[in-house]
Symmetry: C2
Subunit: 273 residues, 2 copies
């Protein structure tokens, strides 16, 4: 998906919600567990219920890998089921030497038809560039994550007091095809998002952690929205596990719809897409 | 596999060679391509041919993921085929927030029975610790990789001139169950390995890049070997693609045997396992 199509989708639906498909076989409602492919059946019903309220879906690849080859099949079916006008994110946090990254890119951009993949920056330029060579595909590079351990290395400062995550932001924007970069920016502190917005004024940020990890949608949006929107805010468990019963899809829709209502107002208030 | 068993295997075989199973469907000899599962068939023959000369196998997960669910099945069959007295490494470079890392650990330590997995440190302690909770399983944390991009972030220095990869080494050794940590240490510069050995005197290092990436076995071993050996040196393409013809397994054995001979001498010279 190209940038204009993504912005157009946000504009026409008035939402920048991404629904995280962290589908845990142990949390799927009981009545689905005898389905032929419970994970896909759950995802299908979640997608049908929430598609009017979001612009993106983000399967967390670990949940599928933990099931072995059958999980991989559920993932492939899920990604094939999502309509092409919806942005898809493989939350995979991959990254390896060049020829290996190329194969990961092939796995997620060709074998499956994801629009984007999350990538870890530790191995530097030649580990990321192979992902950037695919037209209309995106790399969402880890910049500042929202977990406690993010402080261990991402906040380490150089001689000039510049933390590692800022170096990742500024260095990566000099790489070839860096217009295909987005960034993962954790939502736990809005002041950080404001600073990161200064460093990457035109980039889309994928913001996880609103809700379960304690981020605040209002504060995040005030700090991060641009005239092109520039944000994809993810919610996983709050939506997909809103109910553990037969009404799970309806409750997921209700939760997604609540976020959608807030996002409509925030888009009106902070940006002019 | 526990530490003593690994050291015992190195001692009894006089080798610290790890064979990288970077099995590329496009490089498998033609006569195998009509096999029911060409990737597994290739791996099986490579394992049979090289098993007397190595103590570890390292499938590069990207090569299997690129094939979708069938690749995942080839990988599961491969790992089940490797005898339990051989150390196995999932070269996956995973790492995510805690509950997600737990699922990756489950995928590689339970769904499949790998002894170890490579993990990227960018997200810090709570992204790594879930992997460390499995008894007799190992995390091989990226410290200093051998690719050109390693300079982008791993060499960034703090106010005291300490580069990021050294921080990763010293910080991670303070984490719970850090006795289950090994480190990825690229082989392109022996002086770096010497320095890293000072910072982690008792840890095993997985050294990729000897051969194809230009590392020198003699220099790496002189700098990195300890009395417990402390090294696993990986070779992938030089061994598994030694020939593209029907004699591929025999040629792989020949190449592995050449490395084995060198390692015998180096173990005699530098350590007393």
């Amino acid at each position: 998906m190209d940038r204009n199509s993504l912005i157009q989708a946000i504009k026409s639906k008035s939402t920048y919600l991404c629904v995280g498909l962290d589908t845990d076989i142990n949390r799927i409602p009981h009545h689905l567990r005898n389905a032929k492919d419970p994970v896909f059946e759950f995802n299908k019903q979640i997608i049908d219920a929430t598609i009017d309220h979001c612009v993106a879906y983000k399967p967390n690849i670990a949940f599928y890998e933990a099931l072995g080859s059958s999980g991989w099949e559920s993932l492939a079916k899920t990604i094939a089921y999502i309509p092409k006008d919806i942005f898809t994110i493989a939350d995979a946090k991959r990254g390896d030497i060049g020829n290996t990254s190329k194969l990961y890119a092939k796995a997620f951009f060709e074998t499956m038809d994801f629009d984007s993949i999350t990538v870890a920056p530790y191995m530097g330029e030649d580990s990321v560039v192979p992902f950037l060579e695919f037209e209309d595909k995106w790399v969402i590079l880890l910049a500042h994550t929202s977990n406690p351990g993010s402080a261990d290395f991402q906040l380490l400062e150089d001689q000039h007091g510049i933390p590692l995550f800022e170096k990742v932001l500024t260095t990566s924007q000099k790489w070839p095809q860096s217009d295909r970069l987005m960034y993962v920016v954790g939502a736990t502190r809005a002041d950080k998002i404001k600073r990161i917005r200064q460093l990457a004024p035109n980039s889309f940020f994928l913001v996880p952690g609103v809700g379960a990890q304690g981020g605040d949608l209002q504060a995040v949006s005030a700090a991060g929205l641009t005239n092109d929107c520039g944000l994809l805010v993810n919610s996983s468990r709050n939506i997909i596990y809103a109910s553990a019963k037969e009404d799970f899809a309806r409750e997921a829709k209700n939760q997604a719809s609540l976020v959608h209502e807030q996002m409509k107002k925030l888009l009106d208030q902070y940006c002019h897409v």
